[in-house]
């Protein structure tokens, strides 16, 4: 009786398991997250994943209209920190397939308009100080102590 039940269960589950395997193979690959320079991003990863667009949108208006040039949520700083050196020298476009911005946006099927106008490669001056604005290990420790 017991053996028959197990057999029935196996028969039932086998096609489902096979389908799951097939599905994974045909799916869009998970994004490859390129780690930025420095210890940690300007805010927690969970927060940045959900809210980076809102912060960038806010910063853009502040900088454009009021001349506020803080670097915390500046797009230029994102690019400077997360762009990776290209094999041919210089930096790869952060908007190229597989790069930091594009890899997630491709996965989520959301187009990026930023780089129609904005530079997708960091400038020389920006790469020198890249990561300087990220949080240090000490700051992270302090934050976790507060929590």
């Amino acid at each position: 009786m017991c053996r028959r039940l197990v057999l029935a269960l196996l028969l039932l589950l086998a096609p489902a398991a096979a389908a799951a395997q097939d599905g994974d193979a045909g799916r869009v690959p998970l994004p490859t997250i390129v780690k930025g320079k420095g210890e940690a991003c300007v805010a927690d990863t969970d927060y940045m994943r959900r809210n980076h667009m809102t912060e960038l949108d806010h910063q853009r208006d502040e900088t454009m209209h009021r001349g506020v040039r803080t670097r915390k949520f500046s797009l230029k700083e994102c690019v400077a920190c997360h762009a990776t050196p290209a094999a041919t020298g210089g930096y790869a476009s952060i908007n190229a397939p597989g790069q930091f911005c594009r890899s997630c946006h491709d996965y989520a099927a959301v187009t990026i308009d930023c780089f129609q106008c904005h530079a997708a490669r960091p400038g020389e001056a920006d790469t020198k100080r890249a990561g300087a604005f990220s949080r240090t290990a000490g700051e992270l420790r302090q934050e976790s102590e507060v929590q």
């Binding site: 853009r60 502040e62 454009m64 209209h65 009021r66 001349g67 506020v68 040039r69 803080t70 670097r71 230029k76 690019v79 400077a80 129609q116 106008c117 904005h118 530079a119 490669r121 960091p122 400038g123 920006d126």
Partner: protein, 255 residues
């Protein structure tokens, strides 16, 4: 193009008097002890990155036409390099933020050569006509285009009497990180706003000095102690088309 410009509505002398009076008032901390605040108006370096621009500063540019050499293109080259204005070899449609204009008086043959760019008007017509609010004047007098909300209608290009604006017809690549530019939007001279916010002068002004011309002076028109204010006060200077009442921030001497 000769004759003094009528001041329309805004009188800088009145503002200077009022601010001087306010400074003189000071704060009395104790009998006989008065604290006079240190004003940093006019010094862009004094503004912290998190502080917004204020109307206590009005950026202006003075061009001494006598010192501007015919055939010298240093300011234009510097602008192209600084802002990444690489064209497509099509001068009719390529972006042009600053250009050299050669003038000749047909009756005498006298020649004049001068740079012409966005005049950063106090009452900019491009801002008046913009249907989306993309064309705007910053508090410190710099006229800009917010390309995030520009729809590329080009109404501002028609309204500008100085022909200062360009429309981007083709896809732009490899922009400078501090000067975003893209297809389908209008753009013009920004007074190198990214440099001004760092306390530096525009690229054209720097290049002119390096080329030995020293024809351009950039500074705060609201600060009576700035080099530009002293020159504007000491010499007769002209605004182009003063009859339009736009009060441009760019002035010309010896025109």
């Amino acid at each position: 193009m000769t004759g003094r410009t009528p001041q329309q509505g805004f009188d800088p002398r009145r503002r200077r008097f009022l601010s001087a009076a306010a400074a003189a008032a000071g704060v009395t901390l104790a009998p006989g002890v008065t604290f006079y605040g240190v004003t940093a108006a006019g010094s862009a370096a004094a503004r912290a990155p998190e502080d917004p621009v204020t109307s206590s500063v009005r950026w202006g540019l003075l061009v001494d036409v006598n010192k501007c050499r015919e055939g010298c293109n240093a300011c234009v080259t510097a602008c192209v390099e600084e802002n990444g204005l690489r064209g497509n070899g099509r001068p009719e449609t390529d972006a042009q933020w600053i250009r050299k204009v050669e003038l000749r008086d047909p009756s005498t043959g006298a020649k004049r050569s001068l740079p012409l760019m966005c005049q950063h008007c106090a009452s900019p017509p491009c801002v008046d006509v913009c249907p989306t609010g993309a064309s705007f004047k910053r508090a410190d007098g710099i006229v800009l285009v917010d390309k995030h909300i520009c729809i590329g209608c080009r109404y501002c290009m028609l309204a500008c009497p100085y022909k200062a604006r360009s429309f981007i017809h083709e896809v732009v690549e490899d922009q400078k990180p501090y000067a975003p530019r893209g297809k389908g939007t209008v753009e013009s001279c920004t007074f190198c706003v990214h440099r001004v916010d760092e306390g530096r002068t525009p690229a054209c002004v720097e290049a002119c000095a390096e080329a030995g011309g020293d024809a351009m002076t950039f500074g705060d028109l609201n600060d009576p102690d700035s080099r530009i204010s002293k020159q504007v006060a000491a010499y007769v200077t002209d605004q182009i088309r003063p009859d339009l009442g736009l009060d441009p921030g760019v002035r010309y001497r010896n025109l």
